[in-house]
Subunit: 348 residues, 2 copies
């Protein structure tokens, strides 16, 4: 997500090149909670009020701009990305120069006090920043982020997948026996995107989020979702989509050609993601993307890692890095693909 004027985010004009820059790369925190033993607390994270989130998100330096909900979750659209709150799971994704980890300890306290719940599993991840030197010191290096997290958890496991000297994807999790329901998360972190496709995500071409969603084809990725979309001034786009049974997808777009970035994330359960991946790539036409997939043994996506292992090519893209990481309760793959042939992008 990229926003420049309408909300609380800061536009960065730094002294080194005086150019405009926005870090689309998100910090992503997913936490699963369990009820503390005993006590009559209902144990539902959705009992945390919007006002309490507003207060918490001040620590992160972002704001709520809208929200949608169904019977399973509340999806907040933020000035920098998204927040999804289900009964037992919180997903907080923030881009730009936000300070996500600053909210972690207060969040855990709030959940303990208000919901009588404690951490069962946690995943903090991000790609390497384009410009790490512009981040708050809390987030400039993954080593420093790990130090913060290691103070809170004594069973933490920190990983660097991809390449350390090129496209890196960092993950911090904890060793737990994990949740016992099927769970999976697919992320596509796309860079160097097609400028024609990106033009839909500017006020020069579309008047609002709804128009950008339709014009780009985002509304056709997974039809039937409850969509909350927003087009920033003068450019940048964010959307949350709520699907039945606690599923979601979310897209955040920084369209400027100098630092274009699009993220797609979903927890929708599929036994193969190949078609979905092709649909997303077709809309955004990146020159490269990093793909991660988490799946636990109960998930029908858990066999897809062996398919991914064999997919050295994805229509027009060749794989430059691929890793499988076996976690205590998830199989995780991380793959980097680069465009191998020039595809003429038809006009939107």
């Amino acid at each position: 997500m990229d926003q420049h004027a309408t909300t609380g985010g800061e536009e960065i004009a730094d002294s080194t090149d005086c150019g405009h820059f926005f870090e689309g790369t998100e910090k992503l925190l997913e936490i699963w909670f369990a009820r503390n033993n005993g006590g009559g607390n209902p144990g539902d994270l959705r009992s945390i009020s919007r006002e309490e989130w507003v207060t918490l998100l001040k620590l992160v330096h972002c704001e709520i701009i809208s929200s949608k909900q169904d019977a399973d979750m509340i999806a907040y659209l933020l000035s920098e990305s998204s927040l999804f709150v289900s009964k037992r799971r919180i997903i907080l994704k923030t881009c730009g120069r936000t300070t996500l980890l600053a909210a972690l300890t207060p969040l855990l306290s709030l959940v303990k006090q208000k919901c009588g719940m404690q951490v069962m599993d946690i995943f903090y991840s991000r790609k390497n920043y384009m410009r790490p030197e512009l981040q708050h010191e809390l987030h400039q290096s993954f080593d420093d982020e790990v130090k913060v997290l290691d103070k809170l958890f004594d069973n933490g496991a920190a990983y660097a997948l991809g390449r350390l000297n090129r496209d890196t994807w960092y993950l911090y999790t904890i060793e737990t026996s994990g949740i016992n329901e099927p769970d999976q998360t697919l992320e596509l972190l796309m860079q160097d995107l097609d400028s024609t496709r990106m033009s839909a995500f500017t006020k020069a071409v579309c008047k609002d989020g709804l128009e950008a969603t339709k014009k780009s084809g985002i509304d056709q990725i997974i039809p039937g979702a409850i969509i909350d979309d927003f087009l920033f001034e003068p450019c940048g786009y964010s959307m949350n989509a709520i699907l039945p049974n606690g599923a979601y997808f979310t897209i955040h777009i920084t369209p400027e050609p100098e630092f274009s970035y699009v993220s797609f994330e979903t927890n929708v359960e599929m036994s193969t993601y190949e078609e979905l991946i092709l649909r997303v790539l077709d809309i955004f036409q990146p020159k490269k993307f990093l793909m991660t997939l988490f799946a636990n043994p109960g998930s029908s996506a858990n066999d897809f890692y062996s398919d991914i292992h064999n997919i050295g090519q994805i229509k027009g893209f060749s794989r430059h890095d691929h890793q499988l990481c076996v976690l205590k309760s998830y199989n995780l793959t991380c793959s980097v693909y680069k465009r191998s042939q020039q595809i003429e992008a038809p006009p939107i």
Copy 2:
């Protein structure tokens, strides 16, 4: 390998704890060369003389203590670990506070000038040090090592497998189409070893390398090898073993209980390494070990990674981390195992 008095290595008594310490963790460099186009040079790395190696190894801060050879390779035993020289491949493994990378540029020049050969593939790897702060500044952090290597190679790929905040294994390689003969390397990096088993590698118990090799059972790991072994004063052990058709194995032992470390490395081709692994573990009885296996598509070991993936347990050990990394021309696995049940080690 651990040596304290007999050779050129330095015993470290640092100011922080005044205690004796030796870093068994090796730096490992494997380079495959190809002949430059044209020229009538025979293109054989074995034409590099012992004197030339002595000069080069001065830059690394280690010395040759003996050597053995057969028709395929020359195996040098070093004051800090080993050097194997075949027609097209050099393997240099050095422990302690050696400065392996200081020799890289001079080595490449020597090979170019004397053998008319250039780098075809390169692998620089090591586990995280027990005490990185005692290393030469060239080697204190992998980031710094990568900077050195990135200056020499424009297609370098740097990886960190294992966990960043616990047992980490670093690798730097380059993107090449690779060698077209079957190739594989298995490494077992063992720590917290059984002190009874370790006593064989002290002068208090054995008079020389030969006795330690037999008493420990090392001579039975892969029978029929040409063995070059050395027992250091007062403790520490190194051995090279030459097998037919360019195969080798090498073992280096730091027996002191405060920082015990044993490495086993081999390129012997097997379709399954399970028995070999169990034999090695049975001799040394570590409390934990990190295992890496490289195999290229031509190798009969190339399917073993899928077996490894399924081996969550190795007799008495449970797996704490496991990753598969797909390189341009190799499949690589890295796994960390820890003893899950106490095994009474019978006396040696």
